[in-house]
Amino acid sequence: MSAASDVGHHAQRQARWHYGEIAFWLIVLACGLAFPSRYLIMTDILRLALFAMSLDLILGYAGIVSLGHAAFFGVGAYAAGLLALHGIVKEPVLALIVAGLAAMVLGFATSFLVIRGVDLTRLMVTLGIALLLEALAERFSNITGGTDGLQGIEMQPILGAIPFDMFGKAGFFYSLAVLFLLFLFARRVVHSPFGLSLRAIKNNPLRAAAIGIPVNRRLIAIYTLAAFYAGIAGALFTQTTAIASLDVFSMERSADLMLVLVIGGTGYLYGGLIGAVIFRMLQELFSTITPQYWQFWIGLVLVVIVLVGRQRLHRWVLYVPNLIIRQIAGRKAIVAVPESDS
């Protein structure tokens, strides 16, 4: 077997759906049906999961460290809010796409700034862009509502048929559908040759360029796509909560997002989804113990994760599931192990 076909074979095997993945989505759906009183928090988790998946695309697959991912979330949120408030695009699904595209345009424009320089410069530039947008949103308070945020947003029924109800049932299944569709697309992208070339860039940009991968163009493409995802997440936030306030741009949001992804693990797409569930649960737990100071415990979790080492932690977390799956499926079937970060 030649090297090329070997790589192709390996990539195809990786891309195949595992039983574990199907089980994962069935469990998510079952949760939606089993806990009808918890729609609001579950919708919140789905939104966060989508947002984290967006960061995973650039951090886990392309290795871009961003502290300002909230910029795209915020643009999506305000875009969806303004579209609904002024009745420009009334239908939520269409508005969702338009909001995502707005964030995508910003992502494309700023990607040229981000691909320059190394980690620290990227960190600063992404953070700077988010802060800039926050300042802008505050400045043009006649459009954005300033610190009060956008208020009085009335959402039309989804596809003109399913109205948003006050228990958040429609919102939950709407978010779940959006998340699942976007997940399918992301999964397709990261297992395509394009996705493989991104991993090559992440591991060694110089070598990737040497074998003929157009590094900058690939980074621009994935950054733009991630911005689209983040914009959709932001738009879902506005549509399901009917508010958009200045804190959508805040640095804490970007930092929390980083934590979500770190808890779940980067580079296998499920990291953001699992991380979102654990993060929200931790947050609930800490805020019931110490309502005002939960941030301390979140910080402690971050510090401990880094000190213990993310690799080791994920091996522990996945140890039991892998043991069970190995018993059932026999062979080397395991839950995807997160890729090593350089």
Partner: protein
Amino acid sequence: MTAILTNLFDGVAYGMLLFVLACGLAVTLGLMNFVNLAHGAFAMAGGYVCMVLVNRMGWPFFAALPLAFVSSAAIGIALERTLYRHLYTRSHLDQVLFTIGLTFMSVAAVDYIQGSSRVFINLPAALQGQFDLFGVGIGRYRLMIIVICGLLTIALQMVLAKTRFGSRLRAAVDDPRAASGLGINVPQVFAFTFAFGCGLAGLGGALSAEILGLDPYFPLKFMIYFLIVVTVGGSSSITGPFLASLLLGIGDVAGKYYVPKMGPFVIYTMMIVILIWRPNGLFGRTAAR
């Protein structure tokens, strides 16, 4: 005309303060290539120590300042020896996560101990108010800041340029491997410099309570400013961050005065433009290795 001069004066005071706050970070980034986002937490610690000593225990302000320095330096060296040390060889992502975690913890801890409202340090009467110099209004407190920070800057420059420790430090910044090959104990040099940088941040925190405002969110609010100073100034010399802080200070004060609604906008735009134009900073050679 006098308004311009007063603004310039305020801007210089502000810039000097930023320099004292941020120059420790320049060393951390330049020497060990370590992204320490928790730097502001050390400054906050110094500020709160000073506040407790002056307001609660009745110490004179000038006696409390050195203690702010010492306590921040002590916290700095304790953390360096126990935690930071393990992270020098890790990826930038790990360092960012770790230091953000520390920042969150410090914010919540101070909030828990001292409450979330802004605190003020009782200043001696000699430092309050302002006087006129050829029609230019000069705040006494700001004048003191310029004097203290100016002296500190000169002292730092002298230490770096003239002493044996300074040459060791410069050697370690330029090429840590070659420096350790020459028998310089690089980790020790670094630990000492780290502690000193934290101490300076603590002193800066104590001085800045009056001007920047001191509350538990200080490390988050000013993190971006410290990072701007270091990334724009570069970390290969002390003059780079110094000029960058002055630029930032004057720019920020002028921005807030002349285009009040665009305040932060000016600073962030300036930073992004400079970073795009020169990714290694205005004066830097090896700010980001």
